[in-house]
C-alpha cells in the first residue's frame, strides 16, 4: 500500500498521452463498446478490468487501430494520441502502431527463429545501426521479458516450438524491442507461472519509467499491484475509472464493488 501511494503521487505530475471521448464500437449488429471516455496518462500503468466479453480487448484494439483489420468492426468517437486524432484520414495506422505497440491475448509468435521474432520490429523500423546493435536490442528485450535465460542457447530455434508461457514472454519481448511509446498488453500473464508473472510485472513497472502501459487483466491482485489507474468495464460500458487505490478500496459504483469482491463475473 505504501508503494501505491508513491505511485499515485507520480501520476499527478504526468501529462495526458491518450484521451478517448465518446468511443462506440459495433461488430455488425453487436454494440460492443458504448460511449466510453478514458484518459491514459504518460508514464502510467492503466489497468482494464471487467468480466469476460465486456469489451476490454475491443477497446484496447481501438487504441492502435487494430480493429481496422476486422471487416465488420465500426469505431466512432474521438481518440487523441498526443492531441492528434488517430482516426484522422491523414494518420498512417502503420506509424501509429509502431508508436502504440501491442501484446495480444493469444501468443502469436511468427514461424521464424526466436532471434528473428524479436528482431522483426527493429528491422522493419530500422532501429539498429548494425548487427551488434541488433544483437544488443534482442538480448535486452528478451531479458526484460524474463525469458533470456531459457532461450539464450537456442536463439535459432523456431519461436513456435516454445511452451505457451514462453511464447507469451517472447511476444512481450517482441513488442518491447520495437520501443513503443505506449504498450497495450492484453492479459500478458494469463499463461505464466507466479515467478514469470512477477518478472513481467517488474518489467511493466520498469517500462513505466519511459512509456505508458495499458494492461488488461483478470487478476484483481495484479491490477492492484502494477497499476496506478484502473478502468472497470461491464457489458460494453465504462462503469468506473479512477485511481487504482480508490477503485479497490472505495469503489463508487455498486457494480464495481460487487465485481471486485467476486459477486459478478
Amino acid at each position: 500500500m505504501n508503494d501505491m501511494r508513491i505511485a499515485e503521487r507520480a501520476t499527478h505530475v504526468s501529462t495526458r498521452k491518450i484521451s478517448a471521448t465518446g468511443v462506440q464500437v459495433h461488430y455488425g449488429d453487436t454494440h460492443a463498446i458504448k460511449d466510453v471516455n478514458v484518459e491514459i496518462e504518460d508514464k502510467t500503468v492503466t489497468a482494464f478490468i471487467g468480466p469476460s466479453g465486456c469489451g476490454k480487448s475491443t477497446f484496447l484494439r481501438c487504441l492502435n487501430r487494430m480493429n481496422d483489420t476486422i471487416d465488420i468492426c465500426r469505431v466512432s468517437g474521438q481518440i487523441l494520441l498526443d492531441g492528434e486524432d488517430i482516426y484522422d484520414p491523414k494518420v498512417d495506422p502503420v506509424q501509429l502502431r509502431a508508436k502504440v505497440g501491442m501484446v495480444f491475448q493469444k501468443p502469436n509468435p511468427f514461424p521464424k527463429s526466436i532471434y528473428d521474432n524479436v528482431a522483426y520490429g527493429p528491422r522493419i523500423h530500422g532501429l539498429a545501426k548494425n548487427k551488434a546493435d541488433l544483437d544488443d536490442i534482442v538480448e535486452k528485450s528478451l531479458r526484460r521479458a524474463a525469458i533470456w535465460d531459457e532461450v539464450k542457447d537456442r536463439l535459432d530455434a523456431p519461436g513456435t516450438g516454445l511452451s505457451g508461457g514462453q511464447q507469451q514472454r517472447l511476444c512481450i519481448a517482441r513488442a518491447v524491442a520495437t520501443q513503443p511509446e505506449v504498450l497495450l498488453m492484453d492479459e500478458p500473464c494469463s499463461a505464466l507461472d507466479p515467478i514469470a508473472t512477477a518478472q513481467v510485472e517488474e518489467l511493466i513497472d520498469d517500462l513505466r519509467q519511459k512509456f505508458s502501459v495499458v494492461i488488461v487483466t483478470h487478476s484483481m491482485q495484479q491490477a492492484a499491484r502494477v497499476s496506478q489507474k484502473t478502468a472497470f468495464f461491464h457489458l460494453g460500458n465504462l462503469v468506473e475509472f479512477g485511481e487504482t487505490g480508490q477503485i479497490f478500496t472505495n469503489p463508487i459504483d455498486p457494480r464495481t464493488e460487487s465485481y471486485i469482491t467476486g459477486r459478478i463475473g
Partner: protein, 485 residues
Amino acid sequence: MVFAVAAIGFWAARNRAMTSADGDSRALHSLPNYYGTNAALSAIVPSLAVLALWLIMQPLLIETSVSKLIPDAAISEDTTRSLMMSDVRRIAHGLDTAIAEGGMTPDEATGLRSELTNLRERLASVGVALGSDVQAEVLFAAQKYRMMTRRASLYMMFSVLTLAMIGAAYAWSRSDKDFRARNIVEKAVLALLISAASIAILTTLGIVMSMLFETWNFFGQYEATSFFFGIKWAPDFRGDSALGILPLLWGTLYISLIALVVAVPIGLFAAIYMSEYAGPGLRAVAKPLIEILAGIPTIVYGLFALLTVGPALRDYFAQPLGFSGGADSVLTAGLVMGIMLIPFVSSLSDDIINAVPQSLRDGSLGLGATKSETIRQVIIPAALPGIVGAVLLATSRAIGETMIVVMGAGAAAAQLDKGLLEAINPLEAMTTVTTRIVSQLTGDTDFAAPETLVAFALGLTLFVITLGLNVLALYIVRKYREQYE
C-alpha cells in the same frame, strides 16, 4: 424382381421384430429399420453376386460346348474356328430378331434347314447381314446356341430369385428382439466401403503391373543403358533406331521450366492479391473467373498455342531477332502451358495463405509493419511449405501434359548432339516424353518391336518421376499442416 423380394423382406422382418418386442421399439436391440435393412441385404447381396457370376460364366460355357459342334472338316481354309463362332452368334441373334419382328415363327426357327430355305435373304430382310451363305453345321450350332442361351437364362432367373427369397426368409426368421441387426448392417456398410477402396487400389496396381511387364519386354530387346543415357532419339522401323530418353526428358523439363516460370509468379501474386487485398465482392467475382482457366480443355489451349501464340511469337519475336523457323517452339508450348497452370498455383496457394492464422497478421501489423512487409516476412514464410507443395503438384501436371506440346512445340525430339546452343534455344521445336508415347503407339504398330514397346518404358519413367514429385509435394504439405495443429 429381386428388389421386390428385398422390399417384402424389409417389411416382413421389420414387423416380425416389432412383434417379438410386443410393439415396443425400445425393447429391440436395434431400430426396427435395421431389421428390415438386414433382410433386404440378405436378399440382394447373395442373389446379385450369383447373377454377376452367372453372367460371366454362361457365355464361356455355352461357347465351348457349341464350338465342339462344328467339326474340323467344316472349317474351310480361309477362316478359323473363332470366326465361325462369331458367325454362329450372328445367326442366333438374327433368328431372335426375325422372331421378334414376326418374320419367322419360333418353331420355324428351331426347325430350319439351310438346304431348304434361303436363310441369308430372310435374315437380311430383318436387317441382319451375313457375309456368306450359311453352312448346315453353322446353322445347327446357331440353333443349339439359341436354345442353350434361352434355357440358361431361365435357370438363371429361377435360381437368383430363389436365392433372394431364401436370403430374405433366413433374415426374417432371425429377426427377434435380441438379434443384433444393427451390427450386421454396420458390417455391410464397412464391406461396401472396403470394396470401393480396394477397386481403386487394385486398378492402380494393375496399371503399374502392365507397364512393368511391357517395359520388361522392351529391355529384353533394347539395352537399358542406351535407353537411359542415349542422347539421340531417332526411331525408325528398320531395326536400327536410336531410342535414348535424354532428348525427350530434356524437352519435358525445358518446357515445364518455362511453364513454371510463367505460372508460379503470376499464380502466386494473384493468390496474394485475392487473399490479402481484394475485397469480398471482388473476390467473389475474380476467383471463379481465374478458376475457369482450369476448366478449359487442354486441346483448346493447344489450339491457342498453334493458331495464336506460335505465329505471333514467330512474326513479332523470332523473325525480327533473326531466328528463322516454324511456329512450333518450346517457348510457345511453355507459355501456353504456364497459362494453363496459373489457376492451379493460384487456387492452391490461395487456400494455403488463407490458412495462415489471422493472429500472425495481427501480430505483425501490431508491431507497425505494413501490409506488404507482413506478407513478405510473415505470411509467405509461414505458407512457404504449402506453396512449394502447390508448385510441385503443378510441375507434375506440366510434365504429364501432352496436347499443348504436340500443338505448340511440335513432335521432333531435341537434338542434343548438335551442341549446347541448339539444345537451349527456346525457339527450337522440341518434344516431350508424353508426346512421343502417343506417336509411338499411333498408326500401324507392331507390339513386339522395340520402337513400340519403348512407349511403355517412357510411360513408366514418367510415372516414376511424377510419382516422386507428388510424394514429395504431399510430404511437404503434410509437414506444413502439423505446424498449426
